[in-house]
């Protein structure tokens, strides 16, 4: 069944109920945690960042409610600190080797490419196994060969096909994360199709073309394009350049908002576990408003409104997430726990891998 829209077929969740997620984080309260986190991280030359991360995540998890229960983040700061030190050490070794023996640096870089899928799996496993709801942990188990195909193979394919395969990559990336996740013994399933990702990509390209055409017509209409190209500093150039910059930022933000919204809705609304299904109903227009107003707020407040921005964005996202549950969520069962060291997650953070869905 192709399920492209956020609308969910609720027939097979008979007798079910819509359970909304709720978020109770407060900007003022979080501001204090945030600023103490930053200042202590500075004073301890970065060491406190592990504690800062745990406190931040515990704050957000603890304020996320689903049916009278909250989520909890369990990672130990020392674990995270160890992971960060290992990642940092690896980075230093790489830089040093690269500077002294460029050829060995190339070999290390190639090895790193093959380590990426492993890091991705580790990162998801660490994050999942340290997340709980109702005292049951989430879990994540991924296959290396599969991860290699998804995280290395498909991006290469996307480049070769000049981006045509990119939606396939987005689809498989989301699928890899979802189907390898579990809550207790209940594993998640993913019912979206690659076609749905193509539809989103197509619409995004459409918005981009429309925006570019609109801007071009506007600029041509002012008859200023020739002056722009030859003499960037003419008096006409100023306002036109400003128009192009502002128009470009608006268009970029709109595309970004559309992509984020549509992809999040598509992914979440196709996630199931034991007959329970998520439903995400974010709206592009509101997301665009959030992005733009957040940017203005951060700039005008010299960054001091960052906590407020994080809280209101999280609230909007969670308030548009529902669980269509078949019963009262009491029937999930725990599985044996395994320990995962945090090396993977922190390394992926340092090397800037995108692991969110």
């Amino acid at each position: 069944m192709i399920n492209e829209s956020p609308q969910v077929d609720t027939k097979d969740i008979a007798g079910g109920q819509h359970i909304p997620f709720e978020f109770s984080g407060k900007a003022g309260e979080y501001f204090k945690i945030w600023i103490v986190n930053i200042s202590l991280t500075i004073l301890t030359l970065g060491i406190y960042s592990a504690w800062a991360k745990v406190r931040r995540k515990r704050y957000f998890y603890g304020n996320t409610h689903l049916k009278d229960s909250t989520f909890e983040y369990h990672a130990q700061p020392v674990q995270i600190l160890k992971g960060r030190l290992i990642a940092f050490g690896a980075f230093i070794v790489y830089t040093a080797v690269n500077a002294m023996l460029p050829l060995a640096g190339v070999v290390l870089a190639i090895l790193f490419v093959f380590a990426v899928p492993w890091l991705v799996i580790k990162a998801h496993a660490f994050n999942s196994r340290n997340s709980s709801y109702r005292n049951l942990r989430l879990n994540f188990k991924g296959n290396y060969a599969r991860a290699l195909a998804v995280y290395i193979g498909l991006p290469i394919l996307s480049v070769i096909t000049l981006g045509l395969a990119y939606p396939v990559y987005m689809y498989h990336r989301a699928k890899f994360v979802v189907v390898n996740s579990a809550y207790g013994t209940a594993s998640f399933s993913f019912s979206a199709t690659a076609g749905a990702f193509y539809l989103i990509a197509l619409k995004a390209v459409g918005i981009a073309i429309a925006a570019a055409a609109f801007l071009t017509v506007l600029v041509l209409g002012l008859g200023a394009l020739p002056t722009m190209v030859t003499q960037p500093a003419t008096p006409v150039g100023g306002p036109v350049a400003l128009l192009i910059i502002v128009g470009g930022i608006l268009a970029f933000s709109a595309i970004r908002a559309y992509l984020d919204t549509a992809v999040a809705n598509l992914i979440w609304s196709n996630v199931r576990a034991s007959g329970n299904q998520f439903q995400s109903t974010l709206r592009t227009r509101y997301m665009l408003w959030l992005y733009l107003s957040n940017a203005v707020a951060i700039v005008l407040s010299l960054g001091l409104l960052i906590p407020w921005v994080q809280i209101r964005t999280m609230r909007y996202r969670l308030e548009n997430l529902k669980l269509l549950a078949k019963d009262d969520l009491d029937g999930f069962v725990a599985r044996e726990q395994e320990k995962v060291d945090s090396g993977g997650e922190e390394a992926s953070e340092l090397f800037d891998l995108d692991i969110g869905i």
Binding site: R134, N135, L136, R256, N294, A295, G303, G331, A334
Partner: protein, 337 residues
Amino acid sequence: MKVLKADFYDGTTSARQEVEIQFEPPGQLRISGLERELIFPLSQLRISPRIGNTPRSIYLPSGAKCEVPDNDTIDSILERYGRSSWQSFLHKLESKLVYVLLALVITVISVWGLVQYGVPALAERVARSLPTSVDEALGREALSVLDQHFFSPSVLDADRQRELRTLLAGITQRIEDTHVYRLEFRSGVGANAFALPSGLIVITDGLVQLAENDNEILAVLAHEVGHVVHRHQLRRLLQDSATVLIIASIAGDVTSLASLSAALPTLIIEAKYSRDFESEADQFALRYLRDNNIRLHHFADILLRMEKQRPSSGLGGGYLASHPATKERAKLFQDDG
């Protein structure tokens, strides 16, 4: 003793059971509301640190946990039995306005210090440890790109070009530097001059025509040599990357919104660094002119004339300007006495 409402999760299923807990008899936790009453000594329990007003978890030895919303009571119990962890100190920091303000002051001063002194000092040290071959690699393609888009060949005759090259050689043979200096001529983009990190300096025909004497051109060349000697391009690259890192680490996981709002502070800081580099190059020119008994006003004269020729665009002034205000720069080059 107070009876608290709590949620009990046994750790084997996701079932939620509403229970009541109390810390009675002293030093123990009693949980009622389940099939049978549970009692644990406090020493067997682990209690999560307080963060904001999120519910507290009491982890029982069996793997079960109680989620308790009443933070204050939990805190007072922990304090009474000396079980407060050092993390309760963190919560104190996070809840008292005085400490929050202190944290704010520390953060602002540190970030300012880092941007103002830390990053430039670090970049200079790193640049010094890198060989000049790095500089050559940096700007290798730059001139051919500029040639394609902005420049046409110079129309200056060969004799004049030779004269001006001798001027540059006069500057560079007296400094200890491993860069290989060359002077190239181009036409286009008005009166201008710039240096590539390799030591290649380009001046436009417009600048040669604008100059009223060779001392003015000499001063401009000295300024450009200053950029190369002080390795501004490499340091700019290092400083700009560090700036991006700092901004990203403060903006944290704001992810997509950060790209938009992080752009402006990044631009402002990078423009500040650019102005600092210009001032350093001006200082180099100033020292050269003084050492060689050339009147300083020559540099001020040509700067002001270039400024007059260049119409202001309205964009990119003030904090976003890549160069210090011309009037300020010219003031530096007033002859003493």
